[in-house]
Symmetry: C2
Subunit: 210 residues, 2 copies
Amino acid sequence: MAQVDTVTRILDAAEELFAEHGFAETSLRTITTRADVNLAAVNYHFGSKKALIQAVFSRFLGPFYKLVESSLDSHEKMHPDSILSIEDILRFVARAMANVTQGDRNRLAIFMRLLGLAYNQGQGHLRKFLQTEYRSLFRRVMALITKATPDLQPVERFWRFHFMLGAAAFTLSSMENLRAIVEHDFDTKCTEEEVVGYLLPFLAAGIRAK
Amino acid sequence: MAQVDTVTRILDAAEELFAEHGFAETSLRTITTRADVNLAAVNYHFGSKKALIQAVFSRFLGPFYKLVESSLDSHEKMHPDSILSIEDILRFVARAMANVTQGDRNRLAIFMRLLGLAYNQGQGHLRKFLQTEYRSLFRRVMALITKATPDLQPVERFWRFHFMLGAAAFTLSSMENLRAIVEHDFDTKCTEEEVVGYLLPFLAAGIRAK
DNA sequence: TTTTGAGTTAAACGTATGTTTCAAACAGTT
DNA sequence: AACTGTTTGAAACATACGTTTAACTCAAAA
């Protein structure tokens, strides 16, 4: 076996390059070159480019999924019948993300960029893949949000949820650029934690507007 | 001259297809086929695909830009020294957008998609094009927002502004997809106006959180 | 009438893409 | 050491792309 698994090297390279340039704009040759792997390796190990894209998602979403599930489970075991506030829910999610991305600062931005692309990319196989593969987690979080915002109409809650998703995906995915602007315009540095600290109150206030 | 100008037919087709499938995923052949125009016409009239993308955007941005400027001008002439609320500012922008996009539903998605790409795409031609084309309007709106939120720290206002931008860009650019989900999950149809009607209170509440 | 020049057309060009092929190299088992 | 299934390697394949070319159309100017 090589120093690092071929599959892993491909996933690492693809993750970075997809986030940087998008899916259609990133060729398998660029990926395999950066991964220092033969071109055919992608089709051998993953089957197709589409499958590689989905694999990139799964590697991130899998651990994230389990972490959110387990932390929610343990919380519900300790505090049954408790109703989480929006802030609580967001903190749970944010903490899981921080845990999954820890060690690789760019990983959060990368994932958010992928998420944004997945939503925008036309009749994407990506969105359907995400929807079917991670429906139960989505529903569980959505159910918590529903309990936390009992006065909201379902449709409006749906839209506000995606407003939150958009605010997070957009800013966190271009965090690098935005932080550079902040440093230039305000002569201040922002850590990732500070940005998340700004974000969560914004989201919470937004979802219970009026 | 044909029934409709070749240039216009190309722009119309490109606008629809870009919104539907994205830029990289839309080929010139698809565009020229739908426009019922020869393939070479794009390169003859616009020079390149990049230039076509910018032209599509300019056709939207030009009128939008002028509309916001003039409506702000006339308001300031009628009510000098008045301080606009966040809701007022958002309504000005939304109304200009509605005016520019009226009659063609995809235009809003196009614009938002371009905006997202411009922010995400590291050093693409889009970002520079938008920055130079967009700057003075951006600064004017930002100044109004500053007056409307005097208690906010500049850095936090900067972030909250981009949270708003993100929520809008993300949801409006994938509005087609999201509306389909709403129709499937809630058995309800959402008009664009309704979505914007949901969006603005969310944004306003978010930017003055706490 | 002839000339001009912008507009259109069909075809081709060069390049880049995702994918496939098949022989060579490898690792583990007997 | 020989066999076996798995992984890699270099090359080719078929296709799709953006772009360019050069012949052609045709209305208006000279």
